[in-house]
C-alpha cells in the first residue's frame, strides 16, 4: 500500500471511527456505573433520526445536534427507569429499546417527510461540514507530514474533534473528580456507595444520562456529518461494534480510542477490498473484512487477547430488600 492510499484509508478510519468512539465512551459511563447498555445502537439511531429531521426543518446542524441529544436522552431515561427504578433486566431492556428505536425512527420520519423513512438530504448549514485546519492546504505537499496532516488530521467536522477531546475529558472525569470516583464505585459495589451516604440511583441516572448525551452526539454525527440526512437503520450495528470496542478497551477511555479507531480502520479497509487484495495477494471476501471486528471481539472475550473484567456490579440491579 502506498503512502497516499494509507493516508486516505486513515482519513476514512477517523471518519468511521468517530461514531464508534462516541458510542463507546457513552457505554463506558453507563457500564462503569454498573448499568449494562446494549441499547447504544437504538439511542444512536433515534438521535440520528431526530438530528436529521430537526436539521432539515431548522436548517441548522446545531439545533439538529440538540434534538439528537434530546431523543437519545429519552431512550436513556427509559432504560434508566426500567433498569434502575424498576430493577428490570438490563439486557432485555436494551434489546427492547433497540427494537423500539429501529421501528419508531422509520415511523416518525415517514410520517413527517413521506420519503420512505428517510429525511430529506441536508446541505449547507444543516450539516456539520469538514473543517480545514490552518495551513492544511499549504502543507499538503510536504512529504510525509503533509498528506498526514491534510488527509488524516485536517478536514473533519467539528464533531470529530469533539469526540477526540472527549477521551481525555472522560479520563479526567472518571479518575480525577469526585463524581468519577463515585461513579466507578457504584459500578463496583453500590452498597459501599449507599452506606457512604450517596444515592445509588442518582449516580446511576447521571451516568445513564451522560450515555444518552454521548450517544446523541454519535447519532447526530451519523446524520449530519458523516451522511447528509437520516436513513432507516443507518447506524448499521455500530452500537454493537462500540460495545465490542468497549470490552476490547476493558472499560478504559484511552484504550477506547485505540479500540474504536482499530475497528474504524477495519471498516475503512472493508471499503477498499481492492487495496486489501493488493496487499494480501489473494482475493479476500469482503464479508471476511466485515466480520473482522466481531471476530476480534470474540477473541477478546475468550481471553486470548487479555482478559476483560467488567465492573463487578455490572448488570445487577441494586436491591437492598429482597
Amino acid at each position: 500500500m502506498d503512502y497516499e492510499t494509507l493516508m486516505q484509508i486513515l482519513g476514512s478510519t477517523v471518519r468511521l471511527g468517530t461514531p464508534l468512539l462516541l458510542a463507546c465512551l457513552a457505554g463506558l459511563f453507563s457500564e462503569r456505573a454498573g448499568i449494562f447498555d446494549i441499547g447504544l445502537e437504538g439511542k444512536m439511531l433515534a438521535a440520528a433520526m431526530a438530528a436529521g429531521t430537526v436539521a432539515a426543518m431548522s436548517g441548522s446542524a446545531w439545533v439538529g445536534l440538540l434534538a439528537g441529544i434530546g431523543a437519545s436522552l429519552i431512550f436513556a431515561m427509559l432504560h434508566g427507569v426500567a433498569s434502575i427504578t424498576f430493577r428490570g433486566n438490563q439486557l432485555i431492556s436494551g434489546v427492547a429499546l433497540n427494537f423500539l428505536s429501529s421501528g419508531i425512527t422509520v415511523l416518525v420520519a415517514q410520517a413527517l417527510f413521506g420519503q420512505g423513512g428517510r429525511t430529506p438530504p441536508l446541505d449547507g448549514a444543516a450539516r456539520f461540514n469538514p473543517i480545514t485546519l490552518p495551513f492544511a492546504d499549504s502543507l499538503k505537499d510536504v512529504p510525509l507530514i503533509g498528506p498526514l496532516y491534510y488527509q488524516v488530521i485536517s478536514g473533519h467536522s467539528i464533531l470529530v474533534y469533539a469526540a477526540v477531546a472527549f477521551v481525555p475529558l472522560t479520563w479526567w472525569i472518571l479518575f480525577r473528580t469526585r463524581f468519577g470516583l463515585r461513579l466507578r464505585a457504584v459500578g463496583e459495589n453500590p452498597a459501599a456507595v449507599d452506606t457512604a451516604g450517596v444515592s445509588v440511583k442518582g449516580l446511576r441516572f447521571a451516568a445513564v444520562a451522560i450515555t444518552g448525551v454521548l450517544c446523541g452526539v454519535a447519532g447526530a454525527y451519523m446524520a449530519t456529518a458523516l451522511q447528509a440526512g437520516f436513513g432507516r437503520e443507518m447506524t448499521a450495528g455500530r452500537g454493537y461494534i462500540a460495545l465490542a470496542a468497549l470490552i476490547f478497551a476493558k472499560w478504559r477511555p484511552w484504550q477506547a480510542l485505540g479500540a474504536t479507531m482499530l475497528f474504524g480502520f477495519f471498516q475503512a479497509l472493508a471499503l477498499r477490498p481492492d487495496v486489501v487484495e493488493r496487499i494480501a495477494q489473494v482475493k479476500v471476501p469482503v464479508s471476511a473484512l466485515d466480520a473482522l471486528p466481531y471476530i476480534l471481539t470474540v477473541l477478546v472475550l475468550a481471553g486470548f487477547v487479555g482478559k476483560a473484567i467488567p465492573p463487578r456490579a455490572g448488570g445487577e440491579p441494586y436491591v437492598k430488600e429482597r
Binding site: F175, L181, R184, A185, N189, A192, D194, T195, A196, V198
Partner: protein, 523 residues
C-alpha cells in the same frame, strides 16, 4: 460545616444522657417481621451490646439506625433530638458510623479512595486525597491501626479490611459507632486489639454499639446489653448485673441445655482418611495447606476454628465441589480429587452425604418446591427414576411427604417452594435429605445456624443417632459449644491447617481458643 455540626451536637449533649433512643421501630421484609415495636436507649459514652439468635433482627435494627433500611414505623432520637434518618447521608450527618457484618468496601479501590468515598471535600479528587492521607495517618497513629493508604482492598486481610471500615467511620467524625459482629472474622488476638481500640474510643466519649454472638465478649467489653428474640426487644440489662446463663435464657426464651445427651463413642474402622489435602481458591491463594485427618466409623470429628480458616474449603474438597491435591480415601478406596470425576454426585455415590454450611446458597434451590429439593443431588438415584428417560415425580413426592413427617417439617406441603419455608424448616429439609440417605460419611457444616432451640435438639439427635449407627461424621461449626458437646474428637483449624486435636472431655474453651488463634499446637 463539620464544625457547626459538631457544635450543634455538643450543645444538645447536655440535654439528654442518651446518645441514641429508638422508639417503636418496626420493619417487615415481605412476610418476615424482622423488627417489631423495638425500644432501646443507649447512654452516651458507653459500649452497648446487642445479642440474639440468628435472624433475630439485630442487623436490621442497626441498618435502620444507619439509614440503610427505612423503618415502617418508629422514631429515632439522637442526643435527645428527634432525628429522621431516611438515608445513610442523614445518619452520617447525625454522627453515626457503622461497620457492617458484610463490609461495604470497593474491592479494587485503594484504602484512601474507600475512606473518602462519599466524604470528599470538593469536586476535585486530589485535594480530598491529600487531606485524607494526613488525617488517616493521624488516626492510624492515635488508635494503632496501621494500614497502607495506597493498598488495594482486595489485597488486604479481613482484619485489615475491618480497620478500613472503622477508619472510614472515624474519618467522618462519627460519635456513635455501630459494629455488626466484628469478631466473627477475627482471631482472638485481633479481637483483643479491636476491643482495646473500642475502649480508647469510649474514653474519648464516643458511643459504641456492638453486635455479637459471643457471650464472653459481651461480658468483657460492654456496659449494657440488649437481648433480641424473633424481631422483638426482650430486655436491656446492665452487663455487670447479668451472667452468660441468664443472657442465654433471655435469648432463646427458655433454659438452655448446653449438653447433648449421648453415649460414649465406640469407634470402629477408619472410614475417611485424608492426607496432605491442599485447595487453592480462584485467585490461586492456598486456602487449605496440607490437611491430614482420619475419621472412624461411629465417631464424630468436630472441626473448630474462626470462620474463614479453611473449614469451608475442607468441606468443599471432601464434598467434591472444590478441586484439591493430596489424597482422600473412603473405606480404603481413593476418591478422585480433580477432573470431571470429582463432583458432588460421585461423592454421594461413594457414600458421602453433605449438609452444606450455607443451605440457601448451596443446599437448596430456593425456587424449587420441597419435593424437587429432596431429589437435589440425588436426581440420578434409581429410586427416583420411572424409566431410562423420565424421573418418577410421584415417587419423589411420596418420599418427600414421608421425610417431612419424620422430621416435622412445617408446613408439610411438598409442593411449597423452598423459599417459603422458614430457615429452620429449610435446614430440616436438607438434613432429612442427607441423613436419610444413610451415608457412610456425613459432612455437616453449621448444622444449627439460624435454627431454633427445638430444632437444634432434634438435629443434634439425628447426628448422634447416625453416629450410633456406626457412621462417620465430620462436623464443622463456629459455635464452640456445639463442637464441644457433639464431638467425640476435636480438631482445630487455623490458616488452612490443623493446629491440633483435643478431647472434648479434657479440654476447655480457653485451650481451644489458643489453638484457634494459631498459638501452640503444631506450627
Amino acid at each position: 460545616m463539620e464544625a457547626t455540626a459538631n457544635g450543634g451536637r455538643q450543645a444538645t449533649a447536655a440535654l439528654s444522657p442518651y446518645a441514641i433512643e429508638l422508639k417503636g421501630i418496626s420493619k417487615a421484609f415481605g412476610p418476615v417481621q424482622a423488627n417489631r415495636d423495638i425500644n432501646i436507649a443507649v447512654p452516651r459514652g458507653t459500649i452497648h451490646g446487642i445479642i440474639g439468635e440468628n435472624g433475630a433482627g439485630k442487623s436490621t435494627l442497626m441498618s435502620i439506625l444507619y439509614g440503610f433500611y427505612r423503618a415502617d414505623a418508629g422514631e429515632i432520637f439522637i442526643n435527645g433530638k428527634l432525628t429522621p434518618i431516611p438515608d445513610s447521608q442523614s445518619a452520617i450527618r447525625a454522627g453515626i458510623g457503622m461497620v457492617f457484618q458484610h463490609f461495604k468496601l470497593v474491592q479494587n479501590f485503594t484504602v484512601l479512595e474507600n475512606v473518602i468515598l462519599g466524604a470528599e471535600d470538593g469536586p476535585m479528587l486530589n485535594t480530598s486525597l491529600a487531606k485524607a492521607r494526613k488525617v488517616l495517618a493521624d488516626l492510624s497513629r492515635e488508635y494503632e491501626m496501621d494500614v497502607d493508604p495506597d493498598a488495594l482492598i482486595e489485597d488486604l486481610s479481613v482484619g485489615h479490611q475491618q480497620r478500613v471500615e472503622i477508619l472510614k467511620a472515624l474519618y467522618r467524625q462519627a460519635d456513635i459507632l455501630i459494629l455488626d459482629e466484628p469478631t466473627g472474622v477475627l482471631t482472638p488476638d485481633e479481637a483483643d486489639h479491636l476491643f482495646r481500640i473500642l475502649n480508647g474510643l469510649k474514653e474519648q466519649g464516643k458511643t459504641i454499639i456492638l453486635i455479637t454472638h459471643k457471650l464472653r465478649e459481651i461480658m468483657e467489653a460492654t456496659d449494657n446489653v440488649s437481648v433480641m428474640r424473633r424481631g422483638t426487644m426482650v430486655d436491656t440489662v446492665k452487663t455487670a448485673e447479668s451472667s452468660p446463663e441468664s443472657l442465654a435464657e433471655l435469648m432463646v426464651g427458655r433454659k438452655v441445655l448446653l449438653e447433648v445427651e449421648k453415649a460414649k463413642a465406640t469407634p470402629g474402622a477408619v472410614v475417611l482418611a485424608v492426607e496432605n489435602l491442599r485447595v487453592k481458591d480462584e485467585h490461586g491463594v492456598e486456602r487449605l495447606k496440607g490437611v491430614s485427618l482420619e475419621i472412624r466409623a461411629g465417631e464424630i470429628l468436630g472441626i473448630a476454628g474462626v470462620a474463614g480458616n479453611g473449614q469451608s474449603e475442607l468441606l468443599e474438597a471432601l464434598g467434591g465441589i472444590a478441586r484439591a491435591t493430596g489424597r482422600i480415601t473412603l473405606n480404603g478406596v481413593d476418591l478422585p480429587l480433580v477432573g470431571l470425576a470429582a463432583n458432588g454426585l460421585t461423592r454421594r455415590e461413594a457414600g458421602i452425604a453433605h449438609v452444606p454450611e450455607d443451605r440457601q446458597h448451596l443446599g437448596l434451590i430456593m425456587d424449587f418446591s420441597a419435593w424437587e429439593n429432596v431429589a437435589f443431588g440425588y436426581h440420578n438415584d434409581p429410586k427416583y427414576q420411572k424409566n431410562a428417560l423420565f424421573m418418577d415425580n410421584d415417587a419423589l413426592r411420596a418420599d418427600t411427604e414421608a421425610k417431612m413427617a419424620r422430621y416435622d417439617v412445617r408446613p408439610p406441603i411438598p409442593t411449597l417452594a423452598a423459599k417459603n419455608f422458614s430457615g429452620g424448616n429449610q435446614q430440616k429439609i436438607v438434613v432429612a435429605r442427607e441423613v436419610e440417605q444413610n451415608p457412610d460419611l456425613l459432612l455437616i457444616g453449621q448444622p444449627t445456624r439460624g435454627v431454633d432451640i427445638g430444632a437444634i435438639e432434634f438435629i443434634h439427635k439425628q447426628i448422634v443417632a447416625l453416629r450410633d449407627a456406626g457412621k462417620a461424621i465430620l462436623l464443622v461449626s463456629v459455635e464452640l459449644d456445639e463442637i464441644m458437646s457433639l464431638s467425640d474428637r476435636i480438631a482445630v483449624m487455623f490458616d488452612g491447617q490443623i493446629m491440633g486435636t483435643a478431647d472434648p472431655e479434657t479440654t476447655d474453651e480457653r485451650a481451644l481458643g489458643l489453638l484457634m488463634a494459631g498459638v501452640g499446637g503444631k506450627a
